[in-house]
């Protein structure tokens, strides 16, 4: 497996070595060793659960600094639909988009438009591929990683359509170069304004094409106040909008599914809920559904770890946007729908196999079960692993010792003490004293 870049990293200085993150990680990718949390890169799916959970803010989702805009002659901003809902309703979408230009971007392309294109392509694809239903949305990068690591048999059901971000970046660049003759594609920097930690990983290691069309990812947090300042100065916002509510509502769970022609859809949010639905789908228990929209974050992108506003407040604002925005502003044109299909396909990332040799793997699993039997099954996390079972696996893989368990250690110390007392009783104490006296 090639080295895999992750956006989520640990700030060692801030980590207290507590067990909050290890208990919440859906893929058991974190351990506490030597008082600091360690992330197993191959298991992490960048869902952002630990970023939200850590009480000391020691988990950080790395994003780019706004300074990298200077590396390009021209710049385009791609605001995620979630950005609009971060602000009070007196700031309209026009305000947000205009303020992005005031911040120094030469153009703005709404990712909500990219989302509308994905919907149009999906409708078409589903009509042509009725035999492979239900399809699973490929929009959430953490969900795609989850499929690769834990549900490989469902990978053929993944909708092979690029993400709204990638399609927006591709079309934004193309449009900008067409409108400004003489501009070279390499001179244009395209930047996604993200509610999502996994999108950063998706740009560095894209799954659907070899090289991402996005040149950098800025977190919503990092531009929030800068935009607010510009908007409070702004009197006459420009009208630069192309997306209707159909694309804007992708910010919430249900938005992608409700935009489709078929309404025999299932929308699931929150990574643990997604796991349960995928388990059912894997057992062939969900064959009466056409489409599954799955978001790792509760509430969908509005619940993303890089957002500013509370999910429920933001969701209410989205409903207000619905009342003031037409469903469609401009129908999707055929040329916008070009090159939207996957160019590469996500592969199975095996992180569970104990040993490549099956006989050896069986032996290891048996040992793992035996070790687990000896552990107290309290899943206390004091050893640094999220559960007794996870500790047994770490021991078998040579990454931990059974004495990492405080209960096993306590028992061993007690046994040792008892043994010493027994030995003490057996010592020929009198004769040795006599010897000492003689000397």
């Amino acid at each position: 497996m090639a080295a895999y870049y992750h956006s989520i990293v640990l700030d060692e200085k801030l980590c207290m070595g507590c067990t909050n993150c290890i208990k919440r990680c859906p893929t058991e990718a974190i351990r506490v060793h030597d008082g600091k949390a360690r992330i197993f890169n191959e298991k992490c799916i960048d869902c952002g659960e630990c970023v939200r959970t850590c009480p000391y803010h020691a988990k950080v989702a790395q994003t780019d600094s706004l300074d990298i805009m200077a590396n390009y002659k021209y710049t385009i901003a791609l605001p995620a639909p979630t950005l609009y809902m971060q602000y009070d309703l007196k700031f309209t979408r026009q305000h947000v988009v205009t303020a992005l230009k005031m911040l120094g971007f030469d153009a703005v392309y709404e990712v909500a438009r990219g989302a509308e294109i994905v919907t149009a392509v999906t409708d078409q694809y589903m009509e042509e591929h009725r035999e492979n239903l239900p399809l699973i949305s490929s929009a959430c990068p953490a969900v795609v990683r989850l499929l690769q690591a834990r549900f490989p048999s469902l990978l053929p059901r993944l909708l092979p359509i690029k993400s709204p971000m990638e399609i927006s970046a591709m079309n934004a660049r193309k449009e900008f170069c067409q409108q400004n003759p003489g501009v070279k594609s390499s001179e244009v920097g395209v930047f996604f304004i993200s509610p999502c930690a996994a999108k950063m990983t998706g740009v560095r290691n894209p799954i659907e094409l070899k090289k991402s069309n996005v040149n950098g990812v800025f977190s919503i947090k990092s531009v929030y106040f800068k935009l607010l300042k510009q908007m409070s100065k702004l009197k006459e916002p420009e009208d630069l909008l192309k997306a209707g509510y159909k694309g804007v509502r992708w910010a919430s769970i249900g938005g992608e599914a409700r935009a489709l022609k078929t309404q025999n859809v299932l929308s699931v949010d929150g990574i643990q809920n997604v796991v349960r639905i995928f388990e059912q789908l894997e057992d062939d228990k969900l064959d009466d559904v056409d489409f599954i929209e799955a978001c790792a974050c509760t509430g969908g992108c509005l619940g993303g770890p890089l957002t500013v506003e509370n999910l429920y407040v933001a969701r209410n604002r989205q409903r207000q946007h619905r009342d003031t925005t037409p469903t469609i502003l401009e129908p999707v044109a055929p040329e916008e729908m070009e090159n939207c299909m996957f160019e590469t396909y996500p592969q199975y990332l095996d992180v569970t196999t104990l040993d490549a040799d099956r006989t050896e793997a069986i032996k290891k699993l048996r040992r793992m079960n035996e070790i687990c039997e000896e552990l107290p099954k309290l899943d206390c996390g004091a050893c640094g692993a999220p559960s007794c079972r996870a500790l047994s696996e770490d021991i078998v893989r040579g990454k931990a010792n059974v004495t990492d368990c405080v209960f096993v250690l306590r028992q061993k110390v007690r046994d040792l003490a008892r043994e010493m007392m027994i030995l003490e009783g057996l010592m020929p104490s009198d004769s040795s004293k006599e010897k000492e006296n003689e000397e």
Binding site: E282, R358, I362, R366
Partner: protein, 141 residues
């Protein structure tokens, strides 16, 4: 030899059907820890689920025993139900003796045994009227 076998056991309870999901999920996790291919894991999960459903609708539950060796996965589902009166008919796709209530719940489509056969390499059924049924499913790795 016993060093190279993994045994799992689950009770199939008709009152807590989510337990069937747990059994399936436990078997899947075990198989992927052993490096069994996703396609094979899927076959085992589906066949086992069908057999568990049968034990629940026809016999109010039973037991599942799983044995995994480097060569094959053997799933034995046994119940103390009424037994299968006509084996030939039971194997016909669409044939079912399930009650109307069970069908209304979306089960009893008559695809249980045909599906189990489809997803396994070997299938053996041992049934005695009034005593119960044991279904043995074997999937080669």
């Amino acid at each position: 030899m016993s060093e190279e076998i993994i045994r799992l056991h689950y009770d199939i309870n008709d009152e807590d059907f989510s337990a069937a999901g747990e059994a399936s999920s436990g078997v899947k996790k075990t198989l992927s820890a052993l490096g069994v291919s996703p396609e094979t894991v899927k076959k085992v999960a589906i066949a086992m689920y069908e057999a568990e459903i049968n034990a629940v609708i026809h016999a109010d539950g039973g037991e599942a025993d799983i044995e995994i060796t480097p060569e094959e996965i053997k799933v034995v589902i046994s119940d103390r139900g009424p037994g299968i009166p006509d084996m030939e008919k039971a194997m016909e796709p669409g044939y079912s003796t399930a009650t109307e209530t069970v069908r209304e719940l979306g089960f009893g489509a008559g695809m249980g045994l045909p599906n189990m056969k489809r997803y396994t390499d070997e299938m053996y059924i041992d049934t005695k009227l009034g005593e119960g049924t044991t279904v043995t499913l074997i999937v080669k790795i």
